[in-house]
Symmetry: C2
Subunit: 342 residues, 2 copies
């Protein structure tokens, strides 16, 4: 893959500093969940109250096991980086571990860290910072198959659904790659581009770089961002859609949400409206774009009512409808492989 | 207006360095054309072959006349900044003139210029660089009236049309402001935001900042960017549209163009398609959005055929159709004021 994409090496250790609990540790927990095989363990400072359920490692121990990378798995309360964290990161960088973080401040601005990284020939990788040199989108049709997850809103399962589709396709022996577009996704995948941090002119180009030409039967599962009727973020969604040129998309939806989260004056669009608009805009770079499924978040729906909710949306859309966390994404993959036979 | 918008003071002088001809002087020529009253003259170095048709000034003379700002009105061949230009800019900054430029490199990186500006208490203003701290778009309805120029493609008259509408409305005694979204427009207006350089997440928010609440009968004439069916830049267009929440829009079109300029595999959309898509997306933040006119570039159409071309598009759209450079924009302003009476 292009040097225009952020990437880091495995195996890695996850650093939790001395945080008290899980509240700020979503990144680290996601890493342990999705990349258990590449995670040598957690490094916790004295007083840390968080436990991701993997082996505790020391820096020396991790190095001895071949660790290549340290990933900062938590934010510190208040947003700053405590001194003892910086000291630990400097020690790791000086020992030659690449440091990966999605902090609001750049790693190189932490006192002593750039110098420590130079001593250890380590890289400092900020996953919120797009690489320089991204191109403008060309609209050229690329080989291979692509699926984009979209949603009726932000934060309704687009990352999880794309990851679950990758896992299911691979389990069936298909070539498939999750393509990360947000910081947590990039950490889980070990590569990607933070699409919402890209300068506006280059969003379509970034999406093209992220999902290059591939074998005809290879699937890219592209993590969606924003939402196509979102008054703040639709431009990110639209650029990612046109640059991704997806053959297929899945709509992610929270059936209990009435309005756009954080924008109470904007009603949530219907799934049908999202399908129509996504096809209307996506058509520009892929005339065959189609919806292949709906992913619902039913976690807050009583178990006895789930079946009826799923059936309601299946009737309405004529598509496979699942809660990926409960039902898996098998029916959606069945549809993908039926519609796009190899 | 917010400090989140780039702005600089008049009167100003235009600096042409020692360029040989007009080819790289589009910015300076636009300034002289649109802001003649605020332009004290041109500063040309020995050997300069360019003449914008205004008085030649020296730095001392400009200061004596009250100049506040020096605007770099041309690019140098090859993209770099020659040493003698830098020396002149340093001299001006040390004398207290704010320096404005839309260069590919930042002014502060030119040798000695930051120090000279500090000595002269001058500002260095890069119009390609958005101010920090732009917000996310809220979608909140703002007071006042807004018109956005859109197009079937890039480079088809959106800036010129918005400027011409401002001029015509003011000539009729209406309160109106051109809102610049690109570097040349910002220089002409003395304020604005380079919307295509804004980080993707903040494009709608930048458009909101650019066009704040205003008097009920005040018109903002917002310079469009990109095009809504453009495979590289549509995300800029879409974010600007939704953040601008225009009441009205004008479609700019070059009747001789067959494909998107620079993207020969993408046919130019019809004006009708652009109107439909612009209303479809703009509806999210302004349900009353409507098209009020078409601005054609007929410069390459033989004079004897112009009338038929204008009539063709007027029949097709039922809208006033003009070439702003030849016909002015009076008929479009008539329509605006009829549709939105005060």
């Amino acid at each position: 893959m292009s040097t225009l994409v952020i990437r880091f090496d495995a195996p890695f250790i996850v650093f939790f500093g001395d945080i008290a609990d899980e509240v700020y540790a979503k990144t680290g927990l996601g890493l342990v969940q999705w990349r258990r095989a590449d995670c040598l363990g957690q490094w916790r400072l004295p007083g840390c109250g968080m436990d991701a359920g993997v082996a505790d490692v020391t820096l020396a121990g991790a190095k001895a096991q071949g660790a290549r990378t340290l990933i900062v798995g938590s934010a510190a309360v208040g947003g700053g980086i405590p001194e003892q964290w910086v000291a630990a990161l400097c020690e790791a960088a000086a020992a030659g571990l690449d440091i990966v973080a999605g902090l609001h401040i750049r790693l190189a601005t932490l006192p002593g860290l750039a110098a420590a990284a130079e001593r250890g020939a380590a890289r400092l990788i900020d996953v919120r910072v797009p690489p320089p040199g991204l191109p403008v989108g060309t609209g050229r049709k690329r080989s291979g198959l692509r699926l984009l997850t979209v949603g009726t809103d932000c934060a309704c399962g687009k990352k999880y659904t794309a990851l679950a589709l990758e896992r299911e396709l691979r389990a069936r022996g298909r070539a498939a790659d999750f393509r990360a577009t947000g910081q947590t996704g990039i950490m889980i995948a070990g590569q990607g581009l933070p699409i919402d941090a890209v300068v506006s002119d280059f969003v379509t180009g970034a999406a093209e770089v992220l999902s290059p030409d591939n074998a005809p039967d290879h699937w890219d599962l592209i993590e969606g961002q924003g939402a196509i009727f979102h008054p703040g973020y639709l431009q990110v969604t639209v650029g990612l859609l046109v640059g991704s040129q997806p053959d297929a998309f899945v709509v992610c939806h929270d059936p209990l949400r009435q309005t756009i989260a954080g924008w109470p004056d904007f009603p949530l669009p219907t799934i049908g409206a999202v399908i129509g608009r996504t096809i209307g805009i996506g058509h520009l770079t892929n005339r065959a774009i189609r919806c292949v499924g709906v992913a619902l978040n039913t976690s807050k729906i009583p178990a006895g009512e789930r079946g009826a909710v799923l059936a309601h949306y299946a009737d309405e859309t004529g598509l496979p409808v699942v809660d990926p966390l409960i039902d898996g994404v098998g029916p959606i993959v069945d549809r993908m492989l039926a519609v796009f036979p190899t």
